[in-house]
Symmetry: D2
Subunit: 364 residues, 4 copies
């Protein structure tokens, strides 16, 4: 159902499901039903209108997708479909309220998946570092031999960068995942004195934090998720770069479980690293896409906002693709300490403060 | 079938179909069947192997997508599925041969669609320019009033930029749409003395030009498609920017047919321009994505190549989204010459060489 | 001295000075002198070596720039020049130690300038918002008229986004501005048991926080400055977009002091907005540049790191260009409440919760 | 004079001179003097005005840079300085006429330098390929051993990609290097019936092709230079990636002359490759910057155009930095055929169609 062959390396099955048609449509309907429930409770719309809206058959995703271009938003065909069942659907809200809030609901699920796999990777990297605290190897600079380090120190550098990057990204999710609710011009003017109570009820209904002002054209909080994702993908790419280089036949110091080749069945490829590096290759451009859209006009943008949905879905899926790949690589990494030792070719290697720094890094 | 709600504004139904699972899988199978046919003809594989491969049931796209991450390419699960029917499937070829050639087959279809709609837009812009050769309006610089121009001159500038940009892009398609066929290391070593004849037969089978050397890690021809698409989307975005500004209520000089609003039914939005501007917002980052992947390692890249499929599909769909939107806008554009005249507020406007330049532009 | 005509709109005089040849060379020498002083104090080098290094004539910046390409770093020619005076210069350190630390010293100055102007802009926006709490105007969505808002509410949205964005960027500076000191492979192996004391002394000498492990190929902290700068430039660009649109002759609701035209002396251009929008145009690509370099190899990167210096200098200068421009625009903005009122064309405008939201935004 | 330490790896001395303050100011004055000469010849301005303008002392670049922010263009302070000498300076022209044309004049010089070094690199790569037509080595895919190739075939792949990419870029220069001359709104209205003759005279004076319509907001021709530069830098980066990987100590198949290390004097670094890879890292973002600015408003953009000068200068300098570095690497490359042979570890390597393809590539 969520298959999309052309982007099979750029997402995971689990994260593709978060942004599947069903899930996207579901999140949009979740907003509309919650809005109707809150409005019915406050007597803004008739009591049974909420039930009618909640029990309306789900509109056809393909049809909404098709009609969206006409009005430059999928919200219009969605609302039209719901209003065929109840004229009170989407009462007083604006397209951006449902689109942004549904995105927030999807991002909330995505954040949970990323948190779980980040914790798993943290754990694996910490164990890898501890296990190889005393494994001496060659430090390499500009792809040339430098001085000895330990593999545990190297892994601790990976660990600390992953941890810091996830902490930043996690903080940005916390900051951004909030209700969008402002009505046609961000003033909730349709609801008179009930506007703020309704907003609070709606947020409660959707399990979102107490709402603040709308953020229709203030996109810095979402942009901060995107920026932090770009950095996270970057540190994951660095790990993949290192592993793929260490796994070269001529170096041979580690091996990921890897995958095969269609032409040479015995060949072992650094497939996990490759998937992560592909993600890291695509990410800087995705971040640029989002930032480019930030100069949004007045109270709703003409272009910059409409570019966001797709970019955001790609950003999150790309990040998870890198994370899942690197977590897999690290979980099944084979380390060859003897080869590390023989590549180093020093009788008495001096690893200086490597162990001191390694422990500091594990504290970050 | 090709619905993907989250990217509904970033593609067209027609172009989404070009990159649908069915189409992608179909193109991969087209390569494998053509290869087997050519090989059977040259007695490289048994005569009936080609028929067995051609009549094998199509593998499940979702499954191939899922398994692709394991080996960092969808080619491996595809070949595995085919080899369950005939051990001679994909004989002597490499993953990149089928992936790149299938991409080329898809791009060929995409190029046809773009060519058709580019021609339509050319025609519409030329007519618009001719119709308004004498329609005087305010030229505006830095969003402030400057001197008089004609609307025909303005439209001719749009026309010439579209024409030049399509011509460049079209040339890049011609250059790049060629067979990829090199085997494991780009030498076609599995085929001995038959290698070059086989390559020629395969190209013929696929209706592609006579093949040259493989281009496994020389991606400049594809990159040139991407760069030219970025420029094309940019000139389309400029048209959309202009129209959306002229359509502001306070300016009121043109109106596109446009779309409605979920909160305010009487409101007319520049929906087509918005869709095109969203595409132009996403395009520079997409181009950067592709260029970032160009530093590809040795005879097959570890990351840079694997990032391309998805980016390329997005580039082409985004370009068509912009093109279709602007073509729609121009086809149904209403022009208000009286308002242009009253905004200009000059008794005897002097449009200088506008008409001379307009005619020159229509010759480009 | 710091002139660079080709990038005159992309920086400010003050920030160009932070990255001038004198300042860059000065920061590099500051590191080398501090290192020698700390080493002399710990008897790692002879006591007078530090004085000799400190009093050596400054090397020629142009010559260092020229020779840098030879070794892919300006550190080599710098150290060579110093070692002509004392063989103990740069003892035990690596090129990246001086390059990264000098960058940190420059960024510290840059952060101070940005902090000062951010505070000034905060203040101006807050006052603007308060002054126009009751100034009713048209809210505009997709560049079309929507419902009434207040100009104070609009300005409060600008204010809150600037404040949040600066707060994020400021936090990223705090996190990143730290000593780089690791020696050839990040182990400080040249200093034996004195390594950590030396690092602490060096940090103290440079007024930097107590040092942690080196971060030669872990660039997430610098990347976080870049990402947060990109977002800050984005929100500044949004303000500039809004002001430039409101200043259109046909809208006429605000005017910046602006600049003239070479062809039309009476024309008033939104020059400050234009400078800020140019910065916002360049920023997403600059962020992408930095992120692209993050997949750094092993213990020192071959390309990704060497791309950073220039990008970082551009990022900071571009951000300040936008900030200074927008601060200037807001400080001298003329607002035309009568025009706002007449463009709105409603007898009894209902601004809903605008004032409530405005106050909330001023609390952010 | 042209030193700029912070960007020392991102340019060459020669190309930095092309965009130095002197050169930039010189190109602007060249336009103004040529304009005055052509106007004097046509009796549009008094005969001696041209001489007065031509002999006016050059304005101070630093001062023009400083004042440019005020009006969002260096043209205004330049013209002001010239008009202190003759009121006829810049008569009837617009800021963009002088800025764009001066950029074109600078690009023309840059194109000559790039052409010269491209030819040199072509030649070196062709010779390298011929010399090693029979040097067998390991083909590597996904950084793992694949099948045998020849080093001559590998070098021929580099050659052909460089040649194709330069050919594209060269074509784009030819297309774009043309006069900009349109006056305040692109109609040359100030000159009445003499407009077109004046334009032709001006172009002749500047040694530029016969002028067509102005292209104030149609930036596709410049964008095509930028895109083609990005691709050129990409193929150069691929060569640098390959060489730096082959030069790894553990692989040891080639060595560039390289540079030293500040911490380890005996170390040999792939400095040329590093400089080229740094350029390739920065290029995709630079291309994105330019494309982002393409949606230019009406008859002169408010932001998009003003971002171009700096980006274009960076694009060209970055391209030349990569080109000069790779040309240096190839010119002094040491190849170790014995090591290639021993890394391959096959008694009877079969290089298939490698030699056939090599010859085809040299024909491209």
């Amino acid at each position: 159902l969520t298959s999309n062959l052309i982007r099979c390396l750029g997402t995971t099955e689990e994260m593709a499901a978060v942004f599947s048609d069903d899930a996207v449509l579901g999140a949009m309907l979740e907003f509309e039903v919650a809005l109707a429930r809150a409005q019915a409770r406050l007597d803004i719309i008739p009591p049974d209108a909420a039930d009618i809206i909640a029990s309306a058959p789900a509109p056809d995703a393909a049809r909404i997708a098709r009609e969206a271009r006409q009005s430059a938003t999928p919200a219009i065909p969605l609302v039209k479909a719901l209003r065929a069942h109840s004229e009170f659907a989407h009462f007083g809200a604006t397209s951006q309220d449902v689109i942004d809030t549904s995105l927030v609901l999807l991002l909330k699920r995505a954040a949970g998946i990323l948190a779980r796999d980040s914790a798993r990777l943290d754990q694996s990297l910490r164990e890898l570092s501890d296990r190889h605290a005393g494994t001496v190897m060659l430090g390499r600079t500009l792809l040339q031999p430098a001085l000895p380090i330990t593999f545990g120190y190297k892994a601790a550098g990976w660990y600390a960068s992953v941890r810091r990057s996830w902490r930043r990204l996690s903080g940005r999710f916390d900051e951004a995942l909030r209700l969008q609710f402002g009505g046609a011009a961000g003033t909730l003017a349709s609801y008179g004195g009930q506007a703020l109570v309704l907003a609070a009820e709606l947020a409660k209904e959707l399990n979102l934090p107490a709402p603040g002002p709308p953020w229709h054209t203030q996109r810095d909080r979402l942009a901060a998720i995107v920026g932090a994702s770009g950095i996270y993908a970057g540190v994951l790419g660095k790990i993949a770069r290192d592993v793929s280089l260490l796994m070269q036949h001529e170096v041979g110091e580690v091996a990921e479980a890897g995958g095969g080749s269609s032409a040479m069945p015995d060949k072992r490829n650094p497939s996990g690293c490759v998937v992560a590096l592909a993600a890291a290759t695509r990410m800087p451009g995705l971040v640029a896409q989002f930032l480019t859209g930030m100069t949004q006009e007045h109270e709703r943008a003409a272009g910059g906002w409409q570019a966001e949905w797709q970019t955001m879905a790609d950003v999150v899926q790309t990040t998870h693709s890198a994370l899942a790949a690197v977590a897999g690589v690290i979980d099944e990494l084979t380390v060859f300490p003897d080869r590390m030792r023989s590549n180093l070719d020093q009788a008495q290697p001096d690893t200086g403060a490597a162990e001191h720094f390694r422990r500091q890094l594990l504290e970050e």
